[in-house]
């Protein structure tokens, strides 16, 4: 068939279609949005549907929200803990080695303990390998930020992987990245692909859909392929982490270094003594408070005896603008693996110099010099500690130890002097040095301030030449040598302080008092200025002291200071007694002093510093004061141990509220007083008036207001302000800012939701948290907020068991977990628990169980219970199979909402899934309300109508008396009540029932008996076990285990054994209905009194008929005929039936046709009628306008 050519498309070149197309070509492309191009298609079809879609969209949006939390991550975060987990021989160490090599270009042969590296400009990583012990897995899951889960692809998943995943789920889910190894074991590409897919999907169901799974395809010279490791490294270094509740609310340290500080002599005499150990590591989580309580999983609870922070051994590079790290900055720190170069301690530096770490050594050279000089001075530890500052000079000055100590004291004196006023001349502690000390301070001030020269010259004579020399030398030393930057800064600060201190020092001295006599008017002002100088100086001085890093020194110093002040006051009194010119000022001075006390120039010292000596002095005074008691005003504020416990703050008697000046001093506290620049209603109104074009009322009001303002304020002041250009400019700027703010609040805040507001609030709080202590030095900052996460800290714990040190194995993690308030106590815990669905057995009440809760792992005895509908906690013998139940234990107090997991044993490796149960802490109620059912059984021994006597339930009358009124029940369900005890037999009682009992009934009393929880709290001390046996901790055994181990077999009671059931057939007596009752019954219910038929007598029986042969023939014929007749009749009937049916059909058809006809006719009729009607209507409509 020839192919018929179709008609070709002919493009229109003119006409409407062509026009349309042309238009489309020109403009059509500009409208991209379909909604606008074709609005009809997107018109609202159904309002309901639209509302539904809108709601759905909002629901989805809201579901994505997390509860906003304040971002408390420090500016310099601690290294990220990467835990590498997997079954043995899967390639964990190799992976860590490869990653370390990838980041630092260094090879680490042995992975021992945590390894910290700098991976980028803002990120550090700590790698930790997790061995195949469930203890390690539990501990590390609690501190991990990222888990690299190694899976042997050639083998598939192993139980450990799933166990670890479940542990993670309980303790907060860290980021988990799967890594498939041993992929080169697959020869067939298809099986490889299939396995990968299978493993991936299984992994996804466990972690989350789309969880990252890495493939390490093969090994090259015993290492993974470079490119793959690099990719993995990239993934790690850009990974973001979400905060986990437990980790963000508790401080913790993954110890990377441990030193035993125990006295060697003690060790020699008693090798098993408790050890003093210092632990080092990066602080993570949240702020750590000094002297707090910590838990070391696997060891126990301890009180920290001391915490210090050390310079970061693995610092982030400085903020230089470059993309990558240079070779110097790629640091590696792993003291347990023998890497780390120089490690610092509070008072010592350990240097390890392998050949390939020369660069690191160069970096820290200045500090090591200092350290070497420290080592040279052979002094005691205390002196060494103190000498951390002094040895700066010792290197250059070369003074002998005694001089050093003197210099030290001298320096210390300066500090003290700075802290107090010049009147402080009589010092008790440093006898013989008072004068010099005073002068030293004076002269030191003269370097900075020329104003004090005169005074200094007077005192110059007294200056001891020796000390002068020392000072000069020290100055030279500071200038000449280059001490660490921090120290230098310290001194500069000191210098500055002195500058500040100079003026107030005058004001507070006797000169001031002299002046005060002359002009009492200016006195108050001067004094106030003095106060302020005093205060700031002291606080700074304090921080300086802290920088010295010695708390001992500080406290000593403070004591001295306080003593001085006491002394000084006394002397002041003395002076005032001797010199007459001062007498007039007594009143004023005491008032001023009181005010000092109230306003507390250095409150910090007042509150925290001098508690101890204050009490001491008090006691001293009491001992003295048996005879005379000096009533001094300042004593009133001191702690009086047995004084009245009252929170009232007695008013300052020096304030006389009758005076006008006093009243004026608080005038601005009221709305009627003067307002600040920015807040003054008048100025605001004025500005508003200007900006809005001005309103007569506004301007009038502001004028009035400004007039009144002028009356109140100083004219001069205003004049100055008016003149100042700067001020004007500032004002304008301020006004602009305010306007913008107002604009912003009006227009930007339109669609801010509750969530946005909350988030903003959190943001503000986070900023405040960061900013508050930012400009403080670390030493004082640590005191206020504790050690912040990211710091490298050193903890000292004084009483660790010796096994911790002797059996130390760096492959096991040492975690120091901080405990919150009251988390160190032990108490009752109520928890919700569910047996793990993969655990094969159910758990039995009172079987010891090992829980991992909070930081702790411990063995305890749980009682399982379930809540009945009436709130009763009923004891369960076993945990339910697939349901939650309650569990109550005696254990460490842990906040509600903390998850836990339970294992039956931590020793050895079992084939089965080991996690027995998981759950959450619900309550910490100390009153336990678990009850168990107790059924008391008794037997009736005498039965009256509804009353019966029951015995065997109780043993004494007293017992019965306790249960009077209790409800009892029989097995068959007859309910009753205990009435009263019977005298004999003892324990029997009378009871009434709702029905009559049988002697065979058993009566029981259902009661509830409270159960007490066994107080077993046994921490798992797995870290104390010898090396190599750390995974073999075993605690208390279960009863079953004990029986098994001891070979004890239960002898069951004979009654409890199963026996074949023999049921004796029961005979029922015939039902006997009394005659009277029978009469009354309706006929239906009446027993039918039919006599059974007796035997029919022979004569009454009918005889059987026996036919003759002829008769038989006749009968046969008749039967045959009738059969034929029947058949014929049947056939005829069938035919008739068919005929009738046909007839009916015909009839129906006819009927139908008839109906149709009629319908048509009717239709026709109606149509005609309708037309007529319409016509009529039309005509009527037509008719009306015609009428108009």
């Amino acid at each position: 068939m020839p192919f018929k050519k179709q008609k070709q498309h002919q493009q229109k070149h003119s006409g409407p279609k062509a026009e349309k197309k042309k238009l489309k070509k020109q403009n059509g492309s500009t409208e991209e949005d379909e909604r606008k191009r074709n609005p009809k298609a997107f018109a609202v079809q159904s309002a309901v549907r639209m509302a539904k879609t809108f709601h759905r969209a909002q629901d989805i949006k809201t579901k994505k929200h997390h509860v906003p939390v304040v971002d408390r991550t420090p500016l310099e975060p601690p290294p990220i803990v990467i835990v590498v987990v997997g079954p043995p021989k899967v390639g964990k160490s190799t992976l860590i080695r490869c990653l370390i090599k990838n980041f630092t270009r260094q090879k680490l042969t042995d992975i021992c303990g945590p390894v910290t590296i700098v991976s980028g400009k803002k990120r550090r990583l700590t790698f930790m390998e997790c061995n195949n012990d469930i203890n390690s897995m539990i501990d590390l899951a609690k501190v991990a930020d990222l888990v690299l889960m190694l899976i042997d692809a050639s083998f598939g998943f192993e139980m450990e992987t799933f166990e670890f995943l479940n542990i993670c789920q309980v303790h907060g889910f860290p980021r988990i990245m799967g890594v498939l190894t041993h992929l080169d074991a697959f020869k067939n590409n298809k099986t490889l692909r299939k396995t990968k897919k299978n493993l991936k999907h299984r992994f996804w169901t466990e972690v989350y859909q789309g969880a990252k799974l890495f493939y390490l395809s093969g090994m090259v010279y015993g290492e993974y392929q470079n490119q793959e490791v690099k990719n993995l490294g990239r993934f790690i270094s850009v990974m973001k982490f979400r905060p986990l509740v437990w980790q963000t609310s508790h401080p913790y340290i993954l110890a990377d270094r441990i030193e035993d500080l125990t006295d060697p002599e003690r060790l020699r005499t008693d090798p098993k003594c408790d050890r003093t150990v210092s632990l080092y590591g990066y602080l993570r989580g949240t702020h750590l408070k000094n002297k707090g309580q910590v838990h070391i999983p696997g060891v126990g609870d301890f009180q920290m005896s001391d915490v210090n922070f050390l310079p970061d051994p693995c610092p982030l590079p400085g903020t230089q603008k470059k993309r990558a790290l240079n070779e110097k900055e790629r640091l590696l720190y792993a003291p347990m693996a023998g890497v780390g170069g120089v490690v610092y301690d509070k008072d010592a530096v350990y240097i390890d110099l392998p050949a390939n770490h020369v660069k690191q050594l160069q970096e820290v050279r200045p500090t090591t010099e200092l350290v070497q000089s420290l080592i040279e001075t052979h002094v005691t530890l205390d002196a060494k500690m103190a000498a951390s500052k002094v040895s700066l000079f010792s290197g250059s000055a070369g003074l002998d130890p005694t001089d050093i100590s003197e210099v030290q004291e001298g320096l210390r004196e300066i500090h003290v002097w700075d802290a107090h006023t010049q009147t402080q001349r009589r010092k008790v502690v440093f006898t013989g040095l008072e004068e010099e000390e005073d002068d030293v301070s004076g002269s030191s001030s003269d370097e900075d301030d020329d104003g004090s020269d005169q005074e200094n010259q007077e005192e110059e004579d007294d200056l001891s030449t020796f000390l002068k020399e020392v000072r000069d030398k020290s100055e030279k030393a500071t200038k000449g040598s280059t001490p660490p930057v921090k120290k230098r800064k310290l001194e500069e600060m000191q210098g500055e302080e002195e500058v500040i201190a100079e003026a107030p020092a005058f004001a507070d001295s006797e000169d001031e008092l002299e002046r005060g006599e002359a002009d009492s008017e200016g006195e108050g002002e001067a004094e106030r200025a003095g106060d302020s100088g005093h205060c700031s100086k002291e606080s700074e001085e304090d921080s300086d002291d802290e920088e010295d890093g010695d708390e001992d020194d500080e406290s000593m110093e403070e004591e001295i200071g306080a003593d001085d002040s006491d002394e000084e006051e006394e002397q002041g009194k003395y002076h005032s007694g001797t010199f007459k010119w001062k007498e007039g000022l007594q009143q004023k001075a005491s008032a001023a002093f009181l005010r000092h006390q109230e306003a507390a120039p250095n409150l910090r010292k007042l509150v925290y510093g001098s508690v101890v000596e204050a009490e001491d002095s008090e006691e001293e005074e009491e001992e003295l004061g048996g005879l005379f008691r000096v009533n001094r005003p300042q004593k009133s504020k001191k702690v009086q141990a047995d004084a009245l416990d009252c929170s009232h703050f007695n008013p300052d008697i020096s304030h006389n509220w009758e005076l006008e000046e006093m009243l004026n001093s608080i005038r601005d506290c009221f709305v009627t007083g003067q307002w600040e620049e920015g807040q003054d209603a008048a100025t605001l109104l004025k500005e508003d008036g200007k900006s809005s074009g001005g309103g007569a009322f506004c301007s009038l009001y502001s004028e009035l207001k400004s007039e009144s303002d002028e009356d109140e304020t100083d004219d001069e002041d205003q004049q100055v302000k008016m003149d100042d250009e700067e001020v004007q400019k500032n004002k304008r700027l301020e006004k602009k800012r305010r306007l913008k703010e107002r604009f912003d609040t009006e227009y930007d805040d339109g669609d801010a939701t509750y969530f946005d507001d909350l988030k903003e609030e959190m943001q503000k709080q986070a900023e405040l948290n960061r900013a508050e202590f930012e400009d403080m030095d670390d030493e004082s900052r640590v005191q206020y907020e504790g050690f912040r996460p990211g710091m490298y800290v050193r903890l000292e714990i004084s009483s660790l068991p010796c096994e911790f040190v002797t059996n130390f194995d760096p492959h096991y993690p040492v975690i120091i977990g901080g405990l919150g308030t009251s988390e160190g106590n032990v108490g009752y815990l109520q928890m919700r628990l569910k047996k793990h669905r993969w655990y094969e057995r159910i758990l039995k009440t009172r079987d010891p169980l090992i829980l991992s809760l909070g930081w702790r792992r411990f063995q305890t005895i749980p009682l399982y219970h379930i809540e009945d509908h009436n709130g009763r906690h009923r004891l369960l013998k076993y945990t339910p199979q697939h349901m939650h139940c309650g569990a109550s234990i005696w254990g460490p107090i842990t906040p509600q909402g903390t998850g836990f997991l339970a294992v039956q044993s931590v020793s050895g490796v079992k084939a089965n899934f080991r996690i027995a149960a998981t759950g959450v802490v619900l309550d910490l109620d100390k009153s336990v309300t678990i009850v168990k059912k107790l059924k008391l059984i008794g037997y009736p021994y005498k039965i009256f109508q509804n009353t019966c006597f029951i015995k065997g339930m109780f043993n004494t009358v007293l017992e019965v008396a306790k249960f009077e009124g209790a409800s009892i029940r029989t097995v068959s369900g007859v309910r009753g009540q205990i009435k009263k005890a019977l005298s004999t037999p003892p324990g029997a009682f009378r009871a009434t029932f709702e029905d009559r009992l049988l002697m065979s009934d058993i009566v029981f009393l259902r009661s509830w008996y409270p159960v007490s929880i066994p107080q077993l709290y046994n921490p798992v001390t797995s870290l104390l076990l010898p090396v190599g046996q750390k995974d073999s901790w075993s605690g208390m055994r279960t009863v079953g285990q004990l029986k098994h181990d001891l070979g004890v077999r239960n002898k069951p009671s004979i009654d409890s054994l199963y026996k074949p059931i023999t049921r004796a057939p029961r005979h029922f007596n015939p039902l006997h209905i009394p005659k009277e009752l029978q009469k009354a019954l309706p006929f239906k219910s009446k027993p039918k009194l039919l006599q059974p038929k007796g035997k029919v007598p022979r004569d009454l029986k009918r005889a059987s008929v026996i036919r003759e042969p002829h008769e038989r023939k006749v009968a046969e014929l008749l039967r045959a005929l009738s059969t034929v007749h029947h058949y014929k009749k049947k056939v005829a009937q069938r035919a008739h039936h068919a005929k009738h049916k046909e007839f009916l059909q015909q009839k129906e058809k006819d009927e139908e046709a008839k109906m149709k006809r009629m319908k048509d006719a009717r239709k026709k009729l109606y149509r005609i009628m309708g037309q007529k009607d319409q016509k009529k209507q039309r005509s009527s409509l037509k008719g009306t306008p015609q009428d108009d």
């Binding site: 409150l603 047995d642 416990d645 008013p651 001093s665 309550d923 910490l924």
Partner: protein, 410 residues
Amino acid sequence: MASHGLTYEGCNFLRQRLVLSALSGKRVKIKNIRSKDDEPGLRDFEANFIRLLDKLTNGSTIEINQTGTVLVYQPGLLYGGTVEHDCNPQRSIGYYLEALLMLGPFMKSPLKATLRGVTNDLTDPTVDLLKSTALPVMKKFGIDGEGFDIKVRTSWYSVFVEMQSNPGMDKVAMHVILYLNLSLVLHPQVVKRGMAPGGGGEVVFTCPVRKTVRPVQLTDPGKIKRIRGVAYSVRVSPQMGNRIVESARGILNQFLPDIYIYTDHMKGANSGKSPGFGLTLVAETLNGYFLSAEMLSTPQGQGDPILPEDLGRNCAKLLLEEIYRGGCVDSSNQSLALLLMTLGQQDVSKVLLGPLSPYTIEFLRHIRDFFQIMFKIEVQKPLEDERKGGDKVLMTCVGVGYSNISKTLK
């Protein structure tokens, strides 16, 4: 476990120590309680306080030695619920209430404490003062809601006890009193005060439970917009109240026109057992902070009687003194505010106070002992030409991140 408690000496600050111990869960031992005194050991009111603490907690152990000079307190769980307590008349209800205010938000179940005894006396802050100043402070920390109130209300019970203890009272009088009491039940607003020596007042303190306390920044007190007060008098001439108001207004009107002092005269059964009168003044600032002062007449038969005019004037001056001290929290609630800051989230909290009272200073030390929290204390000097009273103290701290471990998780 290694939780060894803290040891203190002397009976002073007993409440602070016990309250902080209950909150922190640390054991506390107090030695040498009035050991050198003629009557050594704990006083009745202290024992009474310990009993109240025992009622509020669950599982705490208290050991007191034979002479009562050594007290060991192992805190239990703060339970709360409905508690009724007859306070010792040696100290007013304020003494007990101050501690309850600190513990209230951290209970297991919302607290409803009914305290009976002296509502107003000289040594402790009165119930009126605490109601008007402590509650707003706590509200700033997010502790508020429906059932957060201190009510001074009539007590059936105490009158009944009184009746029973007085057998000489004739039947008619008893009926009258019963009738009066019935009418009181119908009008729960009626206040019943019990002045110093006798007592006979009743206070109901209800407090909701919070899991956490939110951090606050109370740094700008704002200006005082109004002053309110109550001049109360019981069992004295009703003119006393008016005389007090007159004199107090005389002083305060120099500063502010918006002053209103209610006079509150109590008669009959509402007036407790002892006569007396007093004045409580509260100044409210624009930012919603309250400064207060109060003054009472000296109890009957103790010391010189005071004229109501003097009392009004002195009380107004006390308020001026309090305003001079300034801050966002008045001097009697400093420790409460500081405690709530300490127990806040691990965020920076700030509060501006007037000069620290000795009680507060000791409280700060105790906070350091129990929670290892140190406050940053900055003194704010008034500027040269500023007329806003004396030095202020800006207290800053980072909270411990305390969460209410008593509350049940459902």
